[in-house]
């Protein structure tokens, strides 16, 4: 009797364990491993999560030929998606991610990425000082990634349909442009509206577009809800926005320089501008998964893409600024005048003008604890979209 009882409970416990395992397909994140002490032989493969335009054949093919690491690419349309991908399947599916500043801390505190041994990255000493140990990828002196490139979020417009050329973000909130506007489908877009309101409605007291109290967020939500009927489509991937401009559905939009370059190459009459209210922007970091199956190839990749030559290729292709200062001369060699055009020579003053994406936290920068965290931003965004 006793035996059969214990058998039964064991069976029940096993069944319960099975259900829990089924219900928890995304298990606990691994504790961060020790950083690599030396780069060994490549594992022959590398799985990358990247922004569109960050893993182009122009530099992926030579990398594969040089290192023997076959690159598998997965493009993500938002920082949220990158975080979700790096956590999916327990975290061992991808080796590398090109995380922006609003994803990096989530990946570090979630134990999804491993510390980096900077001594193995020779190009690091040539980075601009602000990107050698920025607060969004370096915690308590430990580097969890290697900075890559950075740039502004721009106002993109059709030069034939929109005249005169816009100089303010007000055009994407203007009734006159109903049905012609497209903005990213991304909660961090709230910061763009907050930045706009910080200039047009100073009484709200918004000092940092990523540190919003509830009343400030309410004002931003009102503005974005009024904007919703004017929107043609919220774009999820950069290629969506490119389609919208190419087919004449949108003539104004919040964009990256990458869309401008791609559309101009396709002979669509577009231009972009940095409006007077200021801009948000991104500073990206290559981070290695805590459970990376191909860490040697991951280091090889970081070293390859931080060389001045590839930094210049990436900067010109996407329309952004490289972290490596030696890339300036290389950019002018590849495309005359591009170093100045993409601000690779501008230094700290230009860098400080951009409000870089960062993860909204409960703790405001001023010591107060009444700001809204990212979960609240996501819920507000869903409410805005309806």
């Amino acid at each position: 009797m006793k035996v059969s009882m214990s058998c039964l409970t064991r069976a029940a416990r096993m069944a319960a364990a099975m259900i829990v395992t089924l219900a928890l397909p995304f298990g606990q994140a691994a504790s961060a491993a020790e950083p690599l002490s030396a780069i060994g032989k490549g594992e022959g493969a590398l799985n990358i999560v990247a922004w569109e335009g960050y893993a182009q054949d122009d530099w992926v093919k030579p990398f594969e030929a040089k290192t023997g690491c076959k690159v598998n690419r997965k493009y993500a349309g938002s920082s949220d998606e990158m975080v979700a991908l790096m956590r999916s399947g327990g975290g061992g599916q991808y080796d590398l991610v090109s995380a922006s500043g609003d994803a990096t801390l989530r990946l570090i505190y979630g134990h999804n990425v491993q510390p980096i041994n900077i001594a193995l990255i020779p190009a690091w000493t040539n980075f601009i000082p602000a990107l050698q140990g920025p607060s969004f990828n370096t915690v308590k002196g430990v580097h969890y990634g290697v900075s890559y490139e950075w740039g502004p979020n721009t106002l993109l417009y059709n030069t034939q349909k929109v005249t005169p050329a816009p100089t303010s973000w007000s055009v994407i909130y203007d009734e006159a442009n109903k049905g012609k506007i497209t903005v990213p489908d991304n909660p961090i877009q709230i910061a763009d509206a907050a930045l706009y309101l910080s200039k047009t409605t100073p009484s709200l007291g918004i000092t940092d577009p990523y540190e919003l109290t509830q009343p400030q967020m309410d004002a931003v939500v009102v503005l974005l809800k009024k904007q919703r009927p004017l929107i043609r489509k919220y774009w999820a991937l950069a290629s969506d926005e490119i389609d919208l401009f190419r087919n004449g559905d949108a003539t104004l939009g919040a964009a990256w320089p990458y869309q401008t370059n791609t559309l101009q190459a396709a002979k669509v009459p577009v231009a972009d501008t940095l409006p007077t209210e200021g801009v948000t922007g991104w500073a990206d970091t290559w981070m290695v998964s805590a459970k990376s199956p191909h860490p040697n190839c991951a280091y090889e990749w970081i070293n390859y893409v931080t060389t001045p030559y590839v930094q210049a290729q990436q900067a010109i292709y996407f329309g952004e600024t490289p972290a490596n200062t030696l890339a300036c001369a290389e950019m002018d060699k590849q495309q005359a005048g591009s170093c100045k055009q993409y601000h690779a020579d501008a230094g700290a003053s230009y860098f400080d003008q951009i409000h870089f994406w960062k993860t909204p936290l409960k703790a405001c920068g001023n010591g107060q604890d009444n700001c809204l965290d990212y979960g609240a931003w996501q819920r507000a965004w869903q409410e805005i979209k309806g």
Partner: protein
């Protein structure tokens, strides 16, 4: 005696064993992959997620359901999903009726296979390719506006809207309405129609009192396809929907693939399950499963 022969003998002598042997594999499949998945989904809808680290916190809390019911945003999304699914079902029913009727009653042995091929033709190409094709047709500089311009009419602005979703869904699921309707219309014996007219019923009355009731199971069966396929879709809203076109599926997709909040997605996914359960109960009342 060889083993196979003794096995055959055993199965012949014991019919119950025969049935058990036939049903066991599909039953294991059903329980393990279908019911277990549903159970896992239901259980995880009571869990929560740590917002910074993204780790799932097991436990039993109604927070996810409270958030769903407390925020009217999700109610609107649910009503939009159900409303468009109903509109698509209705439109497909109206469009399928004359087509299926001609196929079943008037088409000869040469015309009928041709019509059948026409119905099936779209199913030969990828779902995604067809939705993208509609995106190009309905775009501002697309085929539709090119045609309207040629006719001297003002341009339509229905790309990326709920109207676009309604058109695309109606197109996508039409074959799934025509086929069961055709099958049930074809099964009506001509003698019943002759009897009806012999007894003095005019054409319209025969249609209303004889044909429609007998075709009802096919119509309802088709509507199960059109309704459930629309209800569960998220790709068409993503590709041809506009601002304010999110379906339940889009919220589920965003919470799994973007926010990594699987418990909340699971909680919202319970709703279409309940809607379909209700729909199937009504369908059974209307006799959709009588022919099975």
């Amino acid at each position: 005696m060889p083993v196979s022969a003794s096995l055959t003998g055993l199965l012949w002598r014991r019919p119950a064993l025969r049935v058990a042997a036939l049903i066991s594999l599909p039953a294991v499949w059903f329980v393990l992959f279908y019911l277990a998945a549903l159970a896992a989904m239901f259980i995880s809808s009571f869990h929560t997620v740590d917002e910074l680290s993204g780790e799932i916190q097991p436990g039993w809390t109604l927070d996810n359901f409270r958030q769903l019911l407390g925020d009217w945003t999700y109610g609107r999304i649910a009503l939009r999903t159900i409303g468009i699914a109903a509109a698509v079902t209705l439109t497909d029913g109206l469009l399928a009726w004359p087509f299926a009727y001609v196929m079943a009653r008037y088409a000869g042995p040469r015309l009928r296979p041709a019509l059948m091929a026409l119905v099936m033709l779209p199913l030969w190409s990828s779902y995604l390719a067809r939705v993208y094709a509609w995106r190009l047709i309905l775009a501002h500089d697309g085929a539709l506006n090119w045609l309207l311009h040629g006719l001297g009419l003002p341009a339509a602005s229905i790309g990326y809207s709920n109207w676009a979703m309604w058109i695309v869904f109606t197109y996508l699921w039409l074959p799934f309405m025509i086929l069961p309707l055709f099958a049930s219309l074809e099964r009506i014996p001509p003698s019943l129609l002759e009897a009806s007219s012999d007894l003095g019923a005019a054409g319209w009355r025969t249609f209303r009192r004889v044909i429609v009731p007998l075709a009802m199971p096919g119509l309802v069966a088709g509507s199960i396809f059109t309704f459930s396929l629309t209800l569960g879709d998220y790709i068409t809203p993503l590709l041809v929907g506009g601002p304010g076109s999110d379906f339940i599926g889009n919220v589920v997709y965003a919470n799994v693939g973007v926010s990594n909040n699987i418990p909340f997605a699971a909680a919202f996914a319970v709703l279409p399950l309940l809607v379909m359960a209700g729909y199937l109960l009504i369908a059974r009342k209307l006799g959709a499963f009588d022919a099975l």
